[in-house]
């Protein structure tokens, strides 16, 4: 009942979710250190090459990553129009100032959104929430109560969407669908809040009735194992990050405050 079904095919799907999370964090941190076109460009090219071997159909890739493809040029354009001004100024109109520097920054920003967003989305759409919870609790030793509670709560999100729909239809049936949009929205939100509390309480009771929170050591039905290929995935991510940083430093475009 999660909103989007995870992909279960291809080599990415067999990786441990914790490895995917780690790989994503490594690339993101490296690319956030500096804002320059070279590091992001190199990372993006390497990622696209890796993607070609990931065995995910092109149509699926495009469909799932569409938001990133839309967000990247928009973020770039915004930076071009309003970004920090330096070098030759080409256009000046109200708050808009397009300069040589802002064009460079804009390109760097767009590439960065792609280089961080594409792998993150593709790694996350192949994560099954249950497997992630297993990994977080067994490998990273996060508290089981918290992780399992969150996992069970995730299932309620789909029910909240249905509740909201029913609340909307019910307001039409009660003759108040056309009056006072803001007041109605607030009232409906409060009703959803009350219903959510109800559902949450019921779920908690059902979980306790099955021994959740019992004293003693919990066992795990599904072992979460960190295999060689998971280490390899972290290694690949490190290599991509290192290549990107090295290339940028060599090209002289690296502009991180600490670099």
């Amino acid at each position: 009942m999660t909103l989007v079904q995870p992909l279960r095919t291809g080599p990415l799907a067999t990786l441990n979710p914790v490895a995917k999370l780690g790989a994503s964090v490594i690339v993101t941190v490296a690319l956030l250190l500096s804002i320059d076109p070279v590091s992001a460009g190199v990372a993006l090219i390497l990622e696209l090459v890796l993607l070609a071997f990931a065995g995910i159909p092109v149509r699926t890739i495009l469909a799932r990553t569409a938001p990133v493809w839309i967000a990247a040029p928009l973020a770039g354009l915004t930076t071009v129009l309003y970004g920090q001004v330096s070098g030759t100024v080409y256009v000046q109109w109200w708050a808009v100032e397009i300069s040589q520097g802002s064009i460079g920054l804009g390109a760097a920003t767009a590439l960065r959104v792609l280089a961080i967003g594409l792998p993150a989305v593709l790694l996350f759409v192949t994560i099954d929430p249950t497997d992630l919870a297993d990994g977080l609790a067994q490998l990273l030793r996060l508290p089981a109560r918290f992780v399992i509670g969150g996992l069970a709560g995730l299932r309620l999100v789909g029910l909240f969407a249905e509740d909201w729909r029913a609340l909307t239809l019910a307001r039409r049936a009660r003759g108040v669908a056309e009056s006072g949009a803001i007041r109605r929205f607030l009232g409906q939100s409060f009703a959803l809040f009350v219903l959510s509390l109800r559902r949450g309480t019921k779920l908690a009771t059902a979980m306790e009735a099955r021994g959740f929170g019992a004293p003693g050591q919990r066992t795990w039905a599904r072992p979460s194992v960190f295999r060689a290929r998971d280490w390899a995935a972290l290694g690949v991510a490190l290599a991509v990050a290192a290549a990107a940083v090295t290339a940028a430093v060599a090209a002289g475009s690296w502009n991180a405050p600490l670099g």
């Binding site: 049936a173 009660r174 669908a177 059902a206 021994g211 019992a214 066992t219 795990w220 072992p223």
Partner: protein
């Protein structure tokens, strides 16, 4: 692991009571009860007698001192329930509220994990429990795709995997269609035969469990135990006490409605296709991604002519689309195909397509009562709730008050007039949601599971009220599992999955 796992558990209740934090009245008090290992007990009582609270107490899920105050003592297998986790398994009413994980096998394994059962034995127990409840699906089958009856059997399997010595069932079949009721009853029977566990089941409708139980206990509305003994002796109800307490007794006569003359047509459906239309942007995007059509009709197209004074029951299994059809006939969802025509008598000057009416125009024409009453509440008090419709019609204050007082009186809600609708009991909420629709006197009333959660007494009130509405010329369409309700209001049955009318 807990000691004595799987051995049938004894229950000892001595002058026990529970009061929820922040409430002045005791939910249950003065209960004395001894249940021997392996006994099968049906627990009865009027709504509000505290049956569910007693079960929750036995299951050890009432919580601690922050959650309420207890009196007397209560033990399961010789220990306080909170310290005997896994000894008692509690099955609740709502199938959707009990699914915990996304895959069938994981969901059944959940309880074993919590109790620290080693992995190999855990999966053995999962397979055995699924076999015991007869749920024959792969271990990685998505739990979201199960029917209501299957979900209840899944939850039962989850409990059985704990090897409990005591099974507690709180109205486990109340939300199910007749086929689902039998599925769950048979699964419980098979599980008891396999484990020999002690059973305590709460259910309004006695007939389902009568042959399975060995003892019947009735809780009094004012505390204590009203009756206790062998099923035949207790259910004979020699002094009529159970009947007055609202217990459904087998063979209770069902009132039959006299023939009602039908009037002019109100609403006509020709090959009406219905389904959840794509209403929001995100929904459409999700569907497009899945590569499916924008709105998929459920069930077969429907032909129907609703006349003044007529009554139709939409029947069929859970998930067959009864509720969706009810919403469509109620002018709340657009038709996906075919025609839905409001005839002049119903339209009364508005257009012939109910889905195009303004919300206020619906009020005097079609009243819809939803499956979950809480979805429909929009005011802070019962009185304001009833007044909301008439006020939206801009009726004069005296007229509004008159209608509200009449409905409060008729549905026995006068004492609760100042209460918040969300704090009412299940039966009261249902009556209030019906009353809010009646307050604007619509010609057609569309009800979704109107008798759900009613005890025998409030059920009779509802049936009488709906029958009298028919006599006044209102038309009734009700989506329902309740065959006795269909008979009592004299409704023609429209089975939704096959879409044929049988009179």
């Amino acid at each position: 692991m807990s000691t004595g796992e799987g051995a049938p558990a004894a229950v000892r209740v001595a002058d026990w009571g529970w009061r929820y934090e922040g409430r002045s009245a005791w939910a249950v008090r003065g209960v004395d009860l001894c249940i021997e290992p392996g006994e099968r007990v049906l627990l009865l009582g009027a709504s509000g007698a505290g049956k569910s609270t007693l079960l929750a107490g036995l299951a050890g899920v009432l919580g601690g001192d922050d959650d309420g105050e207890s009196a007397g003592s209560l033990t399961v297998a010789g220990r306080p329930p909170a310290q005997a986790r896994g000894t008692a398994g509690l099955l609740l009413q709502d199938p959707d509220a009990q699914v915990i994980l996304a895959r069938v096998g994981d969901d059944v394994a959940f309880a074993g994990e919590n109790l620290g059962v080693p992995r190999d034995e855990l999966w053995m127990r999962v397979r055995r429990s699924l076999a015991e409840v007869g749920l024959d699906v792969p271990l990685d089958h998505p739990t979201a795709q199960l029917s209501g009856g299957q979900k209840q059997r899944l939850a039962l399997a989850g409990l059985l995997a704990m090897r409990p010595g005591l099974l507690l069932l709180d109205e486990p079949t109340a939300n199910l269609d007749p086929e689902g009721v039998l599925e769950v009853r048979d699964a419980v029977r098979a599980a008891l035969e396999a484990t020999g566990a002690t059973l305590v089941v709460v259910e309004h409708r006695v007939a389902v469990w009568r042959d399975l139980v060995t003892r019947v206990v009735v809780l009094g509305a004012d505390g204590g135990v009203l009756a206790d003994g062998a099923p035949d002796a207790v259910l004979a109800d020699a002094d009529g006490e159970l009947g007055r307490a609202g217990v459904w007794l087998p063979g209770t006569p069902v009132p039959e409605t006299s023939v009602v003359p039908e009037g002019m047509p109100l609403l006509t459906a020709h090959s009406l296709a219905f389904g959840r239309a794509a209403t929001t942007r995100s929904r459409r995007r999700r569907r497009a991604r899945a590569g499916a059509a924008t709105a998929v009709p459920v069930g077969h197209p429907v032909d129907l002519e609703v006349r003044a004074g007529s009554a139709f029951a939409l029947t069929g299994r859970n998930g067959s689309g009864k509720s969706t059809l009810a919403l469509t006939l109620g002018g709340l969802l657009p038709a996906l195909g075919g025609e839905l025509i409001a005839e002049p008598l119903l339209a009364d000057g508005a257009s012939s397509d109910p889905a195009s009416w303004r919300s206020r125009e619906l009020l005097t024409r079609i009243g819809s009562v939803f499956q979950n009453p809480e979805h429909q509440f929009i005011a802070g008090t019962v009185r304001d709730e009833l007044a909301a419709g008439p006020r939206a019609l801009h009726l004069p204050t005296t007229e509004v008050d008159e209608r509200v007082d009449e409905l409060l009186d008729r549905l026995a809600l006068t004492d609760a007039a100042a209460a918040n609708p969300f704090t009412l009991s299940g039966g009261q909420k249902r009556r209030l949601s019906v009353a809010t629709a009646l307050a604007t006197r619509p010609r057609l009333l569309v009800l979704d599971e109107p008798t759900f959660g009613q005890d025998a007494r409030t059920w009779q009130e509802l049936v009488r009220m709906i029958a009298s509405l028919r006599h006044e010329g209102h038309a009734i369409v009700a989506a329902t599992h309740d065959a006795e309700f269909v008979r009592a209001v004299g409704a023609a049955s429209l089975r939704v999955d096959v879409a044929e009318v049988t009179a």
